[in-house]
C-alpha cells in the first residue's frame, strides 16, 4: 500500500563559498527518495539561498518508506564543469510513519559532507500521507514504535510485555568492494552511510513485523549495533523487547483521569507509596487500607479507561479481598501477621516457578533488554549470566539475503561464500547458553540483557550478558490487566524493597557454593551475601548510604597470531581475564564496604597483541544483604619479619580505606536488631512484629557471576568463581603480582568532594535532582611506545588512563558541584597494535545537597498526581514547590515563554511569536510584551544602522532623521507577529518563519538516561539512529587527530540536535554512542572516523508546568490530550 511523501526545500544559510571568483555560491538542491529525484531551481549568487520550492511528491510503498532515508543533496551549479556537491542531509522519515510520533519534520539541518564536515544549513519540510494497510501479508510494519529507553517509556504503560525480538541483516561493506579502488573517498563514505541507513531501516521494519506477529505495538530497549567485519562484510543487528504499550490518556493533566476522583485519590496514594515509609511492603499497606475504610478500590478497574500502569497492588487488592481461594496466601502476609510467612514461602515459590515457567517457556528466549521495571515486575534476581564466544570471521552467508530486495545501490551484491554457519546461528548458540545458565540459577528469565562484539582482523568475540531473574508473569500474559483468578498466586509475599534479593534457586540444590543468610530486611527469606546484576537498582530497593562507580581494569598481552591459532589463544585467555576482573570487582566492592553491584558491564576488547578487559558497575550497600566482611592480607611465608611488617602496614592501609569509604558513602547499616531490639524499633517501625531470630552473619564471599566461554564449539567450561570456604576474604601475598594487585586496589583515587559517579541511571542514595544537565562524550587514545611491556605495566597504564579520564571530568565539571556523573559508559578498543582507545559518554547532573539523603517521604503529595508518579519511576522534584504543583490547575497557559525563556532573554530580536487563533488571552499578553521588547531593540539597531550608513556615505551631506523610520519599524514589528525580526522585514509564511534565520536555535538537551530531571516527557517523537563517517586528508590542518575528532563529535551532536528539533522535540533521552571507530594515518595526513549514535527524541516540559508549551508543540498538533485536560 502506498504512502505519499512530500518534501519542500525552503532555504539555505551559511553556505560555503563555492565560487572563488565571486565569493558566492549558485546553489540548488536534489531531493532523492528511492529511485526518484527532484531538483530545485538554481538560486544564483547567494550564501543564503531562498528556494521556497514546490512540494516534491514521492509516491512509494510503505515498505520503502520504512527502509529508505530521504536524501537531500545541496550542489553548486557550474555551467562549464560538473556540479560540485556541497553536502548532504539524510532524513529518517520513520518517525512520521507512526501516528503517535511526529507529524511533520521541519527545520534547519546541517549540510554534511564526509570530507568537509558541516557546510551550512538547509531548511527542509517533510510530510507523509500514509494510507492504512490492512493486508495480512504486508512486509511493512509502520506504526510500531521504537524506543531506545530500557524501561517502560514515561508516558506509556505496559499492557503487556511480549518478550525478546532480534534480527540481523548482512551485506557487503562498500568500503571493501572492488569499486572502492576507483571511486573517491567521498563516494565510498556516502555509499556506506546510505547502505547502513538502508540496512537499519530494513532491520527496524523486520523487527516491527515480528512485533506485530507477537501482537505487540512497540519495541522497548531497542539496541542496534553494527559489526564492521571488514572483508567479510557488514552486519547490522538489533535486539529489543516487544511490548504492548498504551498511551496514558493524559498523565500530564491529573484531573482528566476519571479514577482520580477525590475519594479514591487518597487511597490509591496510600497504596502507591506507603505513607509511613517507602520501605513498607506495598501489598500489606494496600490490604489494610482496603479492609479498613469502605473500599474505594472496587470502583477502580471499571471506572478508569486506563487503569494505572505498573500497579500490581490495585487489581491484586481487589482480588484478594473478594476471592478466597485456598492458594491465596497474600492476605496473611499482607496483614503482616507474624513469622510463619517465611516458611510458607517455600511451597509458594515452587508453585510460582511452575506457573511462570509455563508462561515463559513457550518463548524461545525469555530475555528482556529492559534494565528498569515497573514495580512488581521483577520478583527475584539470581545473578549475572554471561557467555562469550570467539569466532573466526569468514564471508557472510545469510540465507535471508536471497529473498530481500537487492539494493539498487549495491548491484555488486554478490554473495559467493557458502559457509553454512551464519551470524544468526552464532547468536542463537550464545543465547541458548545464556538461557541454560539462567535455568541453572533457578531463573526462567534474563533481564538487562545485552549483546556486543569485539572484532580484530578476522577474530570476533561475541558476548552476551544479562541478569537471571524470576519475573512476574502477569505482564506477559494476554489480558493481564483484567484480574485473572490466578494472578494473586504470583504475588510474592516479599516486600518490594528486598524481595528481588531473595534467592530464586533452591537452597538445597544451589547452582554454586554460596553463603545464604536470612534477609536483613524482612527476615523471611534467604539472601546471598553478594549480588551482581546488569540492571538498574530497582526504585523500591532499600539501600544504605550512597553508591559509587566501581571499575575493574585489565590488560593481557597475547602473541600475535593468525586464524585458528589466534582464536584459540584468545579463548584460552578469556576465562582468566574474567576471573581476574571478577576478583578485582569483588575486592573493590569490599574495600568500599558494599555488597551489591548494579549495571555491571564487562567489556573485553581484542587487539592484535593484547586483550583489554573493563568491568564497570555501580556498587551499593543493599540493606537486605549482609554486611561485607573486611579484607585480610596473609603472607605465604610466615616468620619473615620484614614481610610480616609489610603485611601489617598494608592491612592497616586497607582497613583505613574501608573506614574512610564507609564514611564517604555514608554506609551505616542499621544495627542487627537481634542484638538491640530498641535500635531496631527506632529504625524499622513496621517490622517490630518480627520474631525471627537473627542469624549471626557469616560474611562469606560468593560470586553471583556465572558464565562460560566457548570457542566456536559446544564445549562449555563453567567457572566457579567463588573463593572456596574461607571464613574471611583473604588476599594472599605470595609473589610480586599479588603485591601489585593490592597496590592497584588502593590506588583508585577517591572522587573529589561534591562529586559522585555511577554507571546506572541514577545514583543510589541521591533523590533530589535539580535541573542542571550536561551530557558529554570524551575520547582518549593512548599510544604505547614501549614494545616490551609486561602485563603489570600495561595494567597500570590502562588503569591510569581510566582514572585520569575520570579526574579530568571532575575538573571540567567542577562548576556543577554538587553533581553526580550518571550512566558513565566506558567503551574500550584497541584500534591499532599500540593504541588503547577509551570513549566515555555520560551525563553530569546536579542535585540538591541538603535533600540528597532522604528518599521523598510521601511522593504522592509532591507530584501532580499519582498517575504520573507511578510512571516516573524516579522521584524528581521535591517538596519545594509541592504545593504549587498540586494547587495549580491544569492551567490554560504555561505560556509561550516557559521554554523559550533561556533563549529569549538575549535574543529578543530572534523571538518569534507563533500565535494561533484561539490561544487564550494571557498568551497574547506575553507575546505582546515580547514584541514591544523586540521593537525597542529594533529601534536601537536601526539607529545604529542609520548611523553607519551615514558614515559609509561619508560626511558632506546633511544628516537624515532616522527616528521616524525606526519608530514605524518598531511599530510594524510589534503589530505583525509573522514578520521577520530583521529590519529588512521580509514577511514569510508562519510555517517557515518558525525556524527561519534569526529564529532561536531550539535548545536540545541530551542525556543517556531515560529522563531529564525536573521535567516530564509528554511525547516520544521517534527513535534517532544515525551513522556518520568523516574522513580527512588534511589532518594537520584540522588540528591533528584531536582537532579532527573534536569537530566530528561536535558535528554529530549538532546533527542529532537538529533532527530532534526538526521533529519538534527539545530533548534526546537514552542517548548513546554505540560506535566510535577512529583510524588514523598521520604520516599520510589522513584520518577516518565512524560514529553511530542513537536515542529517543522527546518533548519534555518542566515538571511544574501543567501543559505542554504551545510554542513547543507548534508543529501543528499541539498535544491534544493536554489541551483537552485544560478544559
Amino acid at each position: 500500500m502506498p504512502g505519499k511523501l512530500k518534501v519542500k526545500i525552503v532555504a539555505g544559510r551559511h553556505l560555503p563559498v563555492m565560487d572563488r571568483a565571486s565569493d558566492l555560491t549558485d546553489a540548488f538542491v536534489e531531493v532523492k527518495f528511492g529511485n526518484t529525484t527532484f531538483k530545485t531551481d538554481v538560486f544564483p549568487k547567494s550564501l543564503n539561498p531562498q528556494w521556497n520550492s514546490e512540494w516534491f511528491k514521492f509516491e512509494v510503498d510503505d515498505e520503502d518508506l520504512q527502509d529508505e532515508p530521504l536524501q537531500v543533496t545541496v550542489l553548486d551549479h557550474d555551467t562549464y564543469s560538473a556540479n560540485d556537491a556541497i553536502g548532504k542531509v539524510y532524513i529518517d522519515i520513520d518517525p512520521l510513519l507512526c501516528s503517535e510520533a511526529a507529524s511533520v519534520i521541519s527545520g534547519w539541518f546541517p549540510i554534511y559532507d564526509t570530507i568537509h564536515g558541516i557546510r551550512g544549513e538547509i531548511n527542509v519540510l517533510v510530510k507523509v500521507e500514509l494510507f492504512n494497510d490492512l493486508n495480512r501479508f504486508r512486509q511493512s510494519s509502520c506504526g510500531v514504535k521504537f524506543f531506545c529507553t530500557t524501561s517502560i517509556p514515561r508516558c506509556y504503560r505496559a499492557a503487556m510485555v511480549h518478550g525478546f525480538v532480534e534480527e540481523l541483516v548482512v551485506n557487503e561493506d562498500p568500503e571493501y568492494q572492488w569499486i572502492d579502488r576507483i571511486r573517491s573517498p567521498r563516494a565510498s563514505n556516502e555509499a556506506r552511510q546510505r547502505l547502513i541507513s538502508l540496512m537499519s531501516g530494513e532491520l527496524q521494519r523486520k523487527i516491527g513485523l515480528k512485533v506485530l506477529e507477537m501482537g505487540g505495538n512497540a519495541v522497548v530497549g531497542y539496541l542496534q549495533c553494527f559489526d564492521l567485519e571488514g572483508e567479510s562484510g557488514l552486519v547490522v543487528r538489533a535486539i529489543g523487547t516487544a511490548c504492548t504499550l498504551d498511551k496514558l490518556s493524559s498523565g500530564s493533566a491529573p484531573n482528566t483521569n476519571t479514577h482520580m476522583h477525590p475519594n479514591t485519590a487518597p487511597a490509591s496514594n496510600a497504596c502507591n507509596s506507603p505513607s509511613k515509609d517507602g520501605k513498607e511492603p506495598v501489598f500489606g499497606e494496600d490490604l489494610t487500607s482496603s479492609s479498613g475504610p469502605p473500599t474505594p478500590f472496587r470502583a477502580l478497574p471499571t471506572t478508569s479507561s486506563s487503569p494505572p500502569p505498573f500497579s500490581p497492588s490495585k487489581p491484586c487488592s481487589r482480588q484478594s479481598s473478594s476471592s478466597d481461594t485456598d492458594l491465596s496466601l497474600t492476605p496473611k502476609t499482607g496483614m503482616g501477621s507474624g513469622g510463619s510467612v517465611g516458611k510458607e514461602a517455600g511451597p509458594l515459590k515452587t508453585l510460582l516457578r511452575q506457573q511462570t515457567q509455563t508462561a515463559l517457556e513457550q518463548r524461545e528466549f525469555p530475555f528482556f533488554t529492559l534494565t528498569s521495571f515497573p514495580p512488581g515486575f521483577l520478583l527475584h534476581v539470581g545473578g549475572v549470566v554471561s557467555a562469550r564466544s570467539v569466532k573466526l570471521l569468514d564471508r557472510i552467508h545469510n540465507p535471508a539475503l536471497g529473498n530481500t530486495r537487492s539494493y539498487k545501490l549495491l548491484d555488486w551484491n554478490s554473495v559467493t561464500a557458502d559457509e553454512p554457519e551464519t551470524r544468526d546461528a552464532w547468536w542463537e548458540e550464545i543465547r541458548q547458553e545464556i538461557k541454560s545458565h539462567a535455568k541453572a540459577l533457578g531463573c526462567h528469565g534474563v533481564v538487562g540483557y545485552s549483546e556486543s562484539t569485539s572484532i580484530c582482523e578476522e577474530v570476533c568475540i561475541l558476548s552476551a550478558s544479562g541478569t537471571a531473574a524470576i519475573l512476574n508473569p502477569r505482564y506477559m500474559r494476554e489480558g493481564c490487566l483484567d484480574i485473572g483468578i490466578t494472578d494473586h498466586r504470583f504475588e510474592e509475599p516479599s516486600p518490594p524493597s528486598c524481595g528481588f534479593c531473595h534467592i530464586p534457586y533452591d537452597e538445597l540444590n544451589m547452582p554454586f557454593p554460596a553463603q545464604l543468610t536470612y534477609c536483613y530486611h524482612c527476615r523471611r527469606q534467604k539472601v546471598p551475601d553478594v549480588l551482581f546484576t546488569t540492571i538498574n537498582l530497582p526504585q523500591e530497593a532499600a539501600v544504605t548510604g550512597k553508591g559509587c562507580l566501581i571499575q575493574a581494569r585489565l590488560c593481557r598481552l597475547k602473541k600475535k597470531a593468525q586464524g585458528e591459532v589466534n582464536a584459540t589463544a584468545i579463548s584460552n585467555l578469556l576465562p582468566f581475564m574474567e576471573y581476574e576482573l571478577h576478583t578485582q570487582l569483588m575486592n573493590k566492592l569490599k574495600l568500599r564496604s558494599m555488597n551489591a553491584l548494579f549495571g555491571l558491564h564487562i567489556q573485553i576488547s581484542v587487539g592484535e597483541n593484547m586483550l583489554l578487559g573493563l568491568a564497570s558497575a555501580t556498587g551499593v550497600y543493599l540493606t537486605a544483604l549482609p554486611a561485607p566482611g573486611g579484607i585480610q592480607i596473609a603472607g605465604k611465608t610466615p616468620g619473615d619479619l620484614s614481610n610480616e611488617h609489610h603485611i601489617l602496614t598494608i592491612q592497616k592501609r586497607i582497613n583505613d580505606t574501608i573506614a574512610k569509604n564507609k564514611e564517604l558513602y555514608q554506609i551505616n547499616p542499621p544495627k542487627l536488631f537481634a542484638l538491640d531490639p530498641e535500635v531496631f524499633c527506632g529504625i524499622n517501625m513496621e517490622l517490630t512484629e518480627e520474631v525471627v531470630g537473627s542469624p549471626i552473619p557469616e560474611p562469606r564471599q560468593r560470586s553471583r557471576l556465572f558464565r562460560s566461554h566457548s570457542e566456536s564449539s559446544d564445549e562449555l567450561s563453567e567457572l566457579d568463581l567463588s573463593h572456596g570456604k574461607k571464613d574471611a576474604f583473604v588476599l594472599e601475598i605470595d609473589d610480586t603480582d599479588a603485591v601489585e594487585d593490592i597496590h592497584s586496589l588502593l590506588t583508585d583515587a577517591p572522587t573529589p568532594t561534591g562529586f559522585y559517579s555511577c554507571n546506572t541511571e541514577i545514583m543510589p542514595g541521591i533523590y533530589s535532582w535539580t535541573s542542571g544537565v550536561q551530557m558529554f562524550t570524551s575520547v582518549r587514545v593512548f599510544r604505547l611506545s614501549n614494545a616490551n611491556l609486561t602485563n603489570q605495566g600495561l595494567n597500570k597504564i590502562f588503569t591510569d588512563l581510566c582514572e585520569n579520564l575520570l579526574k579530568s571530568f571532575y575538573f571540567k565539571l567542577r562548576s556543577m558541584i554538587p553533581c553526580c556523573l550518571c550512566q558513565l559508559n566506558f567503551a574500550v578498543a584497541v584500534p591499532e597494535e599500540e593504541l588503547i582507545q577509551v570513549a566515555v559518554t555520560a551525563v553530569a547532573m546536579t542535585f540538591d545537597k541538603d535533600q540528597a539523603q532522604e528518599k521523598p517521604a510521601d511522593k504522592s503529595t509532591t507530584k501532580g498526581g499519582s498517575e504520573t508518579e507511578e510512571q516516573l519511576q524516579f522521584p524528581m522534584e521535591l517538596c519545594a514547590d509541592a504545593s504549587s504543583a498540586n494547587t495549580q490547575p491544569s492551567s490554560k497557559i504555561s505560556g509561550t515563554v516557559s521554554l523559550l525563556t533561556p533563549a529569549a532573554k538575549l535574543c529578543q530580536n530572534q523571538l518569534v511569536m507563533v500565535l494561533s487563533p484561539g490561544v487564550p488571552e494571557s498568551t497574547n499578553v506575553s507575546s505582546r510584551a515580547a514584541s514591544v521588547d523586540y521593537g525597542s531593540f529594533a529601534d536601537r539597531c536601526s539607529t545604529w544602522l542609520e548611523l553607519l550608513r551615514l558614515k559609509a556615505h561619508t560626511i558632506r551631506r546633511g544628516s537624515v532623521k532616522t527616528s521616524r523610520r525606526t519608530q514605524s519599524l518598531a511599530h510594524s514589528v510589534s503589530s505583525l507577529e509573522h514578520c521577520s525580526p530583521l529590519p529588512e522585514g521580509r514577511s514569510r509564511s508562519l510555517r517557515s518563519n518558525r525556524s527561519f534565520r534569526g529564529s532561536p536555535v531550539t535548545v536540545v538537551k541530551m542525556t543517556p538516561l531515560s529522563f531529564l530531571p525536573g521535567t516530564r516527557i509528554i511525547k516520544y517523537l521517534g527513535i534517532i539512529n544515525m551513522f556518520f563517517i568523516r574522513e580527512t586528508t588534511s589532518l594537520r590542518e584540522e588540528g591533528g587527530v584531536s582537532g579532527f575528532l573534536h569537530t566530528f563529535i561536535a558535528e554529530v551532536f549538532a546533527m542529532v540536535r537538529a533532527h530532534v528539533a526538526a521533529l519538534g522535540g527539545n530533548a534526546v533521552v537514552s542517548y548513546s554512542m554505540k560506535e566510535c571507530m577512529l583510524m588514523e594515518n598521520p604520516n599520510k595526513n589522513q584520518a577516518q572516523c565512524l560514529i553511530n549514535v542513537s536515542g529517543d527524541a522527546v518533548i519534555c516540559v518542566r515538571e511544574t508546568d501543567q501543559e505542554p508549551n504551545p510554542s513547543m508543540a507548534n508543529i501543528g498538533q499541539t498535544c491534544a490530550s493536554g489541551t483537552d485536560g485544560a478544559t
Binding site: F776, S808, F811, L835, W944, V1001, G1039, L1045, A1054
Partner: protein, 356 residues
C-alpha cells in the same frame, strides 16, 4: 607512551571564562597552564597538571573552532555546531571584540590598511600586547569597517549584531569618529594622551557639536559635525579682533581670579595669547584640515603654554570657568549660545587632556 588524542565534547559547550581570556590575550597553551596553576585552580579541585593541560588544550581547540563564528557574530546565534547558552554567547562576543586601550591608542587615527598590519609587531612590542591579540583586535577593526563600507549590499542583514557589539564595547564610536574626521593623534606632542582621553573628547564632540546634539535627539547619534555651528564659530573672532572687548574680557577674568590662585600673574600675562589661541581654533574649524588638527592645536595653543607656567589642574579649571562665564557679561558680545556650545566642549576636553 603518550596520549595521542584527547577530546571532551559537551552537549552544552563548556567554556571557561578565564581560559578564554588567556586565549584572547594570546597565551600559548603551556603559558596558559602556568598562569592557571598559579591561579590556584588545581588546589581548588584536586587536579593535577596533566588534567589542567588536557582541559586547556580542549578549551583552546573549542575557541579556535568558534573563532570562525565569532568573525560574524550573527552566525553565532543561529549556528548549530555549538550549543552555547545566550548569555555565554554574549560573553564570547563581548570579550572577543574587546580592545586593549594601549592597542587602540596606537591604532587611533591611523589608516586601517595593510600597511599598519606590518606594524603590528611594533605595536605589540610597544604596548606589551601579544602579537596574536594585536592581530585579533586589528582584524576586528577591519571587519567592522568592512561591514560599514559594504552596508548597501546584502550584508545589511549582518549588521545588527555587530551594532550590538559596538554598543557594548563603547570603543567603536570614538574610533569611527576619529577615523572619519581623521583627527591627528599620532604626533609626538599627543603621545602622552591615552585612548580614554581621546574617547572622552570624542564623546564630548559628538554630544555637543553634531547635528543630533542640537535637536535633542539623543538616540540619533550622528557623528557629522554641525556645519552651521562651525560657520557660526567664525563670529567668535570678535572676542580677539575687537580690542575693547578683549581688554574688557581680560579685566573681568582677572578681577574674578585675583587672589584665588598662585599662578595669577602668569594668567594675567598670558591671557591675550591664550584667548587668541582658543578663539582661533574655533574660527578655523570650518576647514576640514583644521578639524584634523583640533587636538594638536589645543595642546600647542593652550595646554603647553599653561603647563610651562606650571598651572595646576585646579588653576586650569578656575581659569576656564571664569574665562567662559565672563564672556557673558560683555555687553557687546552677542553670540552667547554659540560661545557656550563651543566652550562646553573645549572646557571638558582641556580638563581631560591636562595631565598634571
Amino acid at each position: 607512551m603518550a596520549v595521542e588524542l584527547d577530546v571532551f565534547v559537551g552537549n552544552t559547550t563548556i567554556m571557561d571564562e578565564e581560559v578564554y581570556q588567556l586565549w584572547l590575550d594570546g597565551y600559548t597553551v603551556n603559558d596558559a597552564v602556568k598562569v592557571r596553576m598559579e591561579g590556584g585552580v588545581m588546589e581548588e579541585c584536586e587536579a593535577s597538571a596533566d588534567v589542567l593541560l588536557s582541559d586547556t588544550m580542549d578549551q583552546y581547540r573549542t575557541f579556535q573552532m568558534c573563532e570562525r563564528l565569532l568573525h560574524s557574530p550573527s552566525k553565532l546565534a543561529n549556528q548549530l555546531l555549538f550549543q552555547i547558552p545566550p548569555n555565554r554567547q554574549a560573553m564570547l562576543i563581548e570579550r572577543y571584540y574587546a580592545f586593549d586601550d594601549a592597542f587602540v591608542r596606537e591604532v587611533l587615527g591611523k589608516k586601517l590598511s595593510k600597511g599598519t598590519k606590518k606594524d603590528l609587531d611594533d605595536i605589540g612590542a610597544k604596548t606589551g600586547v601579544t602579537l596574536k591579540s594585536c592581530r585579533r583586535q586589528f582584524d576586528n577593526f577591519k571587519r567592522v569597517f568592512k561591514v560599514v563600507e559594504e552596508l548597501k549590499g546584502p550584508l545589511v542583514e549582518n549588521i545588527p549584531p555587530i551594532m550590538r557589539l559596538l554598543l557594548i564595547s563603547g570603543i567603536m564610536l570614538p574610533l569611527f569618529f576619529f577615523a572619519n574626521h581623521r583627527f591627528e593623534t599620532g604626533k609626538r606632542k599627543l603621545q602622552y594622551l591615552t585612548f580614554q582621553d581621546f574617547a572622552f573628547c570624542a564623546g564630548q564632540l559628538i554630544s555637543n557639536w553634531t547635528v543630533g546634539a542640537v535637536d535633542n535627539m539623543v538616540e540619533d547619534m550622528d557623528v557629522d559635525l554641525d556645519k552651521e555651528f562651525l560657520q557660526e564659530l567664525k563670529e567668535l573672532k570678535v572676542l580677539i579682533t575687537d580690542k575693547d572687548l578683549l581688554d574688557q574680557h581680560k579685566s573681568l577674568v582677572c578681577t574674578a581670579l585675583r587672589g584665588k590662585t598662585k599662578a595669577f600673574n602668569e594668567m594675567e600675562a598670558n591671557f591675550k595669547n591664550l584667548s587668541r589661541g582658543l578663539v582661533n581654533i574655533a574660527a578655523k574649524l570650518t576647514n576640514t584640515k583644521d578639524v584634523r588638527d583640533f587636538f594638536i592645536d589645543l595642546v600647542e595653543k593652550f595646554i603647553e603654554p599653561c603647563r610651562s607656567d606650571r598651572w595646576t589642574a585646579a588653576d586650569m579649571r578656575l581659569y576656564l570657568t571664569h574665562y567662559n562665564n565672563s564672556a557673558h557679561i560683555l555687553d557687546t558680545f552677542k553670540h552667547q549660545a554659540v560661545w557656550d556650545r563651543y566652550m562646553v566642549v573645549i572646557k571638558s576636553c582641556i580638563f581631560k587632556m591636562y595631565h598634571d
